[in-house]
Symmetry: C2
DNA sequence: CTTTCTGCAAACTCTTTGCACTCGT
DNA sequence: ACGAGTGCAAAGAGTTTGCAGAAAG
């Protein structure tokens, strides 16, 4: 039952590790296909699962949305923008030691926790505050909207 | 486009509000059927959705498990026992004001957040620590608190 | 009456799986 | 060669939806 180094497994890992946008399994599949054209979605799922089990990748579960994958292993939280669907990493927002200890005292064994914030990201907020009223503000800075991760199906 | 007060809607609300175990949609359907035998799962889903949208109920999204519903509206977190599948309410473990404010300063608009701990609950831990000479598998799913109702469907 | 809601079943989305074949080791 | 891994397609789980008929206002 030894794990083999296949081109598919390596490609899946590489894609997620290199991504900054928390891709879904389908996103990963699309990207991996640039290297391994014939890889199937099933294989992508199997390999993502394996890498998550081996703690080489993390799965990010979001309300009502497909699971996304993250190459960042350090403890951190997430922010999901409900406008554009992008997911941002947040530097360990919660002082987990404090919270977990209370649970421990209550007899719980905490193995993991997930903290996710839902709302509107800075980019979408800015985009929203402009459209209404007469364009009075001559604020010109409009940071690239490129950060928006594709999240839904076309 | 006015919302009507139907027996089904009321029953769905009542079941979730009275429940202490964070039932799934299927659990809710089974229970509501004791009052409204012919209610369909589709109607249960539609009503749960409506009640959540109206903030009368909350949806609890868990990693790799079906959504569960909660009648407790006060801010609180959850603990999912990976052994027995039970979900426990945790009294506002996180001091959210602190965390959210930092996000606000960064330009995020936080509309909600979800904090869930995963691990083993006190009951399962006790059962485990008083071994009868058997090791444990990481596999589980036992309706210790009544939540895993399986119903056959064609 | 008018409009929303319901039951049913089919459709959908995301994910997993069985099987024969392929490719690491 | 052996068997874990792959591709494909089909199956599964969970949830949504189209429609004709039921029922709330």
């Amino acid at each position: 039952m030894k794990s083999r180094r296949t081109r598919q497994l390596a490609a899946v890992y590489d894609v997620v590790a290199a991504a900054h946008d928390h891709p879904t399994a389908e996103d990963v599949c699309d990207r991996v296909r640039r290297q391994v054209p014939r890889i199937s979605l099933g294989t992508v799922y199997r390999n993502l699962q394996k890498l998550v089990a081996q703690q080489q990748l993390r799965a990010v579960h979001l309300a009502d949305r497909p699971t996304r994958y993250d190459g960042m292993l350090a403890a951190h939280d997430h922010f999901l923008c409900e406008r554009c669907g992008s997911v941002a990493d947040l530097q360990q927002t919660m002082p987990s030691p404090m919270d977990s200890s209370r649970l421990l005292e209550s007899g719980y064994e905490v193995r993991a926790h997930a903290l996710t914030f839902y709302g509107v990201c800075p980019t979408c907020r800015r985009a929203e505050e402009k459209p209404l009223g007469r364009a009075r503000r001559t604020r010109s800075e409009e940071p690239a909207t490129a950060s928006a991760t594709r999240s839904g199906r076309p």
